[in-house]
Symmetry: D2
Subunit: 132 residues, 4 copies
């Protein structure tokens, strides 16, 4: 049974809060988080900065993996490769992540970020799982 995000105490995720990332689904090796572009998240070209979209992916992969980990396990991002397909000026982003493969120490995940129907970014990442 998936762990509940409500276990996470308020203020426990400062960077997610700073960006305004909100999780709307979580469990069984999957997660979905959302973000609304804000004026302080744009880059010098006037579009949402790639680091914001990347952060959704990194958070989303972590949450998807966390949902299939044991109580005494923690995880860390080893590497993520992200490809940008469209720039974002307005709308609402949703990032869906899922565990593709989970071995004892290594997990492989993928994410897709959409702005409405449009795919904005795709990512493939590797996480390391260890015992506390």
């Amino acid at each position: 049974m998936p762990k509940e995000f409500t276990e996470v105490p308020e203020g426990f995720n400062p960077f997610g809060d700073l960006l305004g990332i909100v999780f709307t689904a979580y469990g069984e090796g999957r997660s979905r988080c959302e973000l609304e572009p804000r004026r302080d998240l744009i880059n010098p070209h006037g579009v949402l900065h790639g680091g914001v979209i990347y952060s959704m992916v990194d958070f989303g992969m972590g949450a998807a993996l966390y949902s299939v980990m044991d109580e005494n396990e923690l995880c860390a991002t080893v590497e993520i490769k992200i490809t940008y397909l469209k720039s974002v000026r307005e709308g609402k982003l949703a990032c869906e992540s899922r565990v593709i493969d989970r071995r004892r120490r290594i997990a492989v995940l993928e994410s897709e970020v959409r702005n409405g129907e449009e795919i904005v970014a795709k990512a493939l990442g590797t996480f390391y799982v260890y015992e506390q």
Copy 2:
């Protein structure tokens, strides 16, 4: 001759300002930017979030490339792969980026992020260059 960062008007880089990324060197296909970890940039594990380090890389690569672009050219991140080597709890991060290869439309860049002497992350990325 490299373009000057001082051309960028105050407030033109909202997301960089939000994270506290400061450029300390720029020109000839290279850039260096710095960031000091803050409490609102950490992840639920209490370490600097990977998205902050990634954002230094994305900004840094863009600046390095911008220094060798023509006046009428713009660039966009196609993809970046980042690998994390160490977690960061305190210190001061410096991200050095450089253009490895510049063709007419495509540029390849690499970045290394250090915390003092320690390498924290390495990245390899592709940017697209186009005319305004």
Copy 3:
């Protein structure tokens, strides 16, 4: 309408022939190629070498992209990131590739390599399209 692979003269694809890569589907931004492990494609650990699986991906992405290119266009691999999920000792590999996004100069593709039902590798790549 997709171009036909039968246009490619015998002997035009020496490295694909060396590895024994056979295309079984091609068109509309997709391709499928297959390969049977052979004793001369294994690595020192006795499993199919990762370079063989990578080569299926690189060929497969190229073919998928070629199917949506104009007559006077050529393409080149910019970069590919491949993640291995399972090692292969026997069986028959099938690599399915598809174009996720096609802009004028840049295309983004993904591939999945299976050994029977089992996913063996996933890849995300970028290609450059240019006029002859």
Copy 4:
């Protein structure tokens, strides 16, 4: 002290032999391997296939890592991202690989492939180390 490649019995590396990859240096977390382009390694465009260059990288990273592993350890490629900078029609390729970071289970490596003085490809990869 680095293990010697001469421990590897003839015929133990069938795919490396098929491609003509020859190791010329190995030890202390580094390796160097070479390859001469041959007519049966080219792609339909008449240039050396990217899978050949990738295979040099995968072999080279494995060898570099193997040089710092214990007797009872084995390694497997988790993922590699390779970026191509120049196409190769003739010359002689040399791939230099090195371990950037070695933790207990995870190693991060980078490779640079040159054709004479020209950089042909760069790669960044992750390997998993386990006990036999």
